[in-house]
């Protein structure tokens, strides 16, 4: 249950997903992996189409927040074996991925519960901000 906090400069490389899964081959008590990927949508805001999102983060606070999320998940889901979070910073274009969460458990039920809980906590607590960049070059800081 070590804390590995990963900020990735630019989009999540798709090969990272495969390589993270491969790392779990030796953990033979795992029966289920659940993965979440957040992909940048070409949303239309008024007449402006999103071309990408620029993410910024408070790096020094992220490790603390990830540890809090981990502690809460491991307290709730005793079947959980490990979890990993990767978040992009900088520019991520439409169709690319900006968030990669992996949770692994003995049986599937807790993987399903933990993946959703984890993503909701990330949305609520992780000190990351998105700035939508439009095709015409303008931008908008996303507000909740």
């Amino acid at each position: 249950m070590k804390t590995t906090t990963h900020l990735i400069d630019g989009p999540i490389p798709s090969r990272l997903i495969s390589s993270e899964i491969e790392k779990h081959t030796s953990k033979t008590n795992i029966g289920a992996h659940a993965i979440f990927l957040g992909q940048v949508r070409a949303d239309l805001i008024g007449e402006n189409k999103v071309s990408g999102i620029e993410y910024s983060a408070y790096e020094e606070m992220i490790a603390i927040t990830v540890q809090e999320i981990k502690d809460s998940l491991f307290a709730k889901y005793d079947d959980l074996i490990c979890m990993h979070i990767f978040h992009s910073t900088g520019m991520v274009k439409v169709g690319e991925n900006s968030l990669f969460v992996l949770v692994s458990s003995r049986h599937r039920k807790h993987a399903f519960r933990a993946i959703e809980d984890c993503v909701e906590q990330i949305k609520e607590k992780l000190p990351v901000w998105k700035k939508e960049i439009f095709q015409d070059g303008s931008h908008k800081w996303q507000n909740k």
Partner: protein
């Protein structure tokens, strides 16, 4: 004391960080910010001291790292 501006607040302040001379509570810091950047207090944000979110009564020491945190929008 170091103060970090995130998200839209970095745009309003025109900077991502600066050092200011200040001691007092978070409430007093907000008054000071209001003088420095009148538009900042129109925004919703939380304040952290040394990476932990605090309330208005918290006292700031020299050497603390303050951050102004608009609502998080990661993911």
């Amino acid at each position: 004391m170091k103060i970090l501006y995130f998200g839209v607040l970095s745009e309003i302040s025109g900077k991502t960080e600066e050092n200011i001379d200040f001691t007092g509570t978070i409430s007093q810091l907000q008054s000071r910010l209001n003088e420095m950047y009148p538009d900042i207090n129109k925004q919703r944000f939380q304040i952290s001291v040394n990476q932990h979110i605090v309330d208005n009564t918290h006292s700031i020491n020299q050497g603390d790292e303050i951050a102004l945190l608009p609502p998080f929008t990661g993911g």
